[in-house]
């Protein structure tokens, strides 16, 4: 598991997984889209608590390796400010056959989304911003149900 403030380069990462024993490579890229819940998004900011995110991410990858007969599995997640269209997260897995590669890739991205201490703040075209999924967790957010204004 890696956290990076630099652009994620999926082609280069895929190259690192090259293995003559692999009959399948499955990659997932999460991109920054220009809208969310009816609002136009200008850019996005990821806050990552790296010491725990890396350890927890490595656990998720180890779980995937023990659940499925994989050759390799990797995950890279961005931190900092991202523009529309940039890659926010990349998962790559290789295996002898495709079924386990699809399943493991899905397992890793699903677990990363729900377990890693990573938060995203959307900056909207309209000028305000809000923590995604966090609107309901702060008394602030109750005053601004769509977003925490800042």
């Amino acid at each position: 598991m890696r956290i990076t403030a630099e652009l994620i380069q999926p082609e280069s990462l895929r190259g690192e997984l090259r293995d003559d024993r692999a009959g399948a490579y499955v990659g997932f890229e999460g991109w920054i889209r220009d809208h969310n819940e009816g609002q136009e998004v200008l850019r996005l900011e990821y806050e990552v608590y790296e010491p725990v995110a890396v350890v927890e991410g490595d656990k998720i990858i180890a779980e995937a390796m023990s659940r499925y007969p994989l050759l390799h599995a990797e995950c890279v997640h961005r931190s900092g400010l991202l523009e529309i269209g940039e890659c926010a997260v990349w998962v790559g897995v290789t295996s002898a056959h495709r079924d386990e590669a699809f399943a493991a890739c899905r397992y890793i991205i699903d677990q990363v989304k729900i377990r890693l201490p990573i938060w995203k703040k959307e900056h909207y075209v309209a000028g305000h911003s809000g923590w995604v999924n966090c609107e309901r967790c702060a008394t602030h957010g109750r005053e601004h149900p769509q977003a925490i204004r800042s």
């Binding site: 806050e47 927890e56 008394t139 602030h140």
Partner: protein, 81 residues
């Protein structure tokens, strides 16, 4: 029993508290007690199950015991990916 702990806030919790960490002395047994005692600081109205906690940089459960000198990290609902 009163314990001296460090509490760290992240994302929306930090913005609500206005600081990223503070030392507190409070009568707590578990991580869940810390979350409830400091509700006025992090501002969360979420059920505990929607948020996460780590103690000394290790993921923990809300019923994990908190010891004197521990650092308790309060995580709002996560949103990676």
């Amino acid at each position: 029993m009163t314990k001296n702990i460090t509490v760290r806030y992240f994302a929306g919790f930090r913005e609500h508290a206005g600081i990223d960490a503070e030392e507190v002395s409070c009568d707590v047994d578990t991580a869940g007690d810390v979350f409830r005692k400091l509700q006025h600081r992090h501002g969360s109205m979420e059920p505990l199950g929607h948020c996460k906690v780590a103690i000394n940089d290790e993921m923990a459960d809300w019923d994990t015991a908190v010891g004197d000198g521990d650092t308790v990290l309060l995580f709002p609902p996560v949103a990676g990916g």
